[in-house]
Symmetry: C2
DNA sequence: CGCAGAGATTGACTCCCGTCGATGCGTTGT
DNA sequence: ACAACGCATCGACGGGAGTCAATCTCTGCG
């Protein structure tokens, strides 16, 4: 279920295959949602770098099932970890996951992203 | 119609507002599609850094209207430029657009690795 | 054991999105 | 002028995604 972003090829380095594109798009679809972006942001900015559902429902203005759904999407995408302690479920950013995604999109890592390819 | 990715706040820096999240998600939705990822990749990897629709239809295995639709989405998102020369429409990557998107997702720039003075 | 609270799951609804065929528009060549 | 080509637009179809109310599961407490 989880997606390995690290396996994604840099976008501009070489033409992506259909499979590579599908793989990368899975992670991007997970973050291409305002509610999930805010969830990532809220978790990251929260005290201790972790937050439970009850901390996230109110600032998002969404119902608890919806928030839980979005969190599951982010966990399945490999962007968040879920740690259930007692009654509460605590979520944290997966270290490096967002950076790997950023690296896949970045043209800087390809060393020759300049308009002149000669 | 175009989206300014540069105005997007780094994700983990501070909790995103609903508007910031919506703005960023617009650009992410544009790239969160395997066909459009491959289009960006194909354009970037193409000779001269530019390609026309006829160059992109075959490797994608999609119909010409569909490819044209995806290209419009990418242009509207500010990721591609369209230059019509004669009968052909040539597409190029917008310099820095993907990097700005990557920077918005990256966690590195929010703490101590800011590229600009600060 | 029964109750209360947190969170996940289910089902249903609506809307958006990707896709194609058909068509329209502008350019090029004869 | 006419035909051919490249590309954009339109209309339509099917699948997927976001949302909520209701419900279920599990934990903690008395």
């Amino acid at each position: 279920m989880s997606v390995d972003v690290a396996s994604c090829t840099p976008l501009v380095r070489k033409a992506l295959t259909a499979e590579q594109a599908a793989d990368l798009s899975r992670v991007l679809k997970a973050v291409a949602d305002p509610a999930r972006l805010r969830l990532l942001s809220l978790v990251a900015a929260h005290e201790g770098g972790e937050a439970c559902v009850c901390d996230l429902t109110e600032p998002l203005g969404l119902s608890q099932p919806t928030v839980s759904h979005h969190l599951k999407v982010l966990v399945d995408a490999g962007l968040l970890t879920r740690d259930k302690r007692g009654v509460w479920a605590w979520f944290r950013l997966v270290p490096g996951a967002l950076d790997a995604l950023a690296a896949a999109l970045s043209t800087a890592g390809s060393r020759d992203a300049a308009p002149s390819s000669g």
